[in-house]
């Protein structure tokens, strides 16, 4: 068994696509219209183009918004991505105007930081955890 897809619920798919590609640096893999303006939209890391796809899933179900709101209020990330250097990535992203709810935090071998994806989620970036 392998993890092929994982997903984040995004408030706006087009805005999410721009953030996850232009800002975070992922690349679009699938973009299939599903009707009613919704898309089957996935991105992958350019470092692993055949790796796990991240589905940018619409937040349409009524349970999703209260769930996301509660997580964001407590600073809890929806998911986490690995980077080579959290500090460098933090500086690069902050330079692009990205809002962090947790600046880089070194805890033993692991460094983490938490950012806002502008689509209703917090995302953790980490290094040293592998």
């Amino acid at each position: 068994m392998r993890i092929h897809l994982t997903s984040v619920f995004v408030d706006d798919q087009e805005k999410a696509l721009r953030f996850y590609t232009d800002v975070l640096g992922f690349v679009k893999k699938h973009d299939v219209p599903l009707g009613e303006g919704f898309r089957w939209l996935t991105v992958v890391s350019p470092e692993v183009p055949d790796g796990t796809e991240l589905v940018l899933e619409p937040s349409e179900h009524p349970a999703v918004r209260p769930y996301k709101t509660a997580l964001v209020e407590d600073g809890i990330p929806a998911t986490a991505f690995a980077v080579d250097d959290v500090q460098a990535e933090f500086e690069r992203l902050r330079g692009l105007g990205v809002r962090f709810t947790q600046e880089p935090l070194e805890m033993g071998p692991v460094t983490t930081a938490v950012l806002d994806d502008t689509c209703g989620n917090l995302i953790q970036i980490m290094n040293g955890g592998e």
Binding site: P77, T101, V114, L122
Partner: protein, 97 residues
């Protein structure tokens, strides 16, 4: 008021939370939990830590602040100054009942 401060400080986990807020002010609940687990091996539920924060807040040692959709926790050392002056400057009036 002073009673609440002493009670809040009597617990080692709550003192750790204050230690971590000294290191960096304005932490989310998630960051406080991460620090307690990873730096101090205090693997507690988020709910338990939330309750510790509530005790610290009612003693005025932690102030929570909403900023947009986020909630951050700041350290407030002012109640500590008040309890310390009780012995350091005994003429200062005590506000306890």
């Amino acid at each position: 008021m002073a009673e609440d401060v002493f009670k809040a400080l009597a617990d080692p986990t709550r003192r750790r939370i204050l230690d971590e807020l000294v290191e960096r002010d304005g932490q989310t609940l998630f960051e406080i939990c991460a620090r307690l687990v990873n730096k101090h091996g205090l693997g507690m539920s988020r709910q338990a830590i939330s309750q510790h924060l509530a005790v610290l807040e009612s003693a005025g040692l932690v102030v929570s602040r909403r900023e947009g959709r986020y909630k951050f926790h700041d350290l407030n050392t002012e109640p500590l100054e008040r309890i310390a002056t009780r012995w350091l400057r005994p003429d200062a009036p005590e506000s306890t009942p």
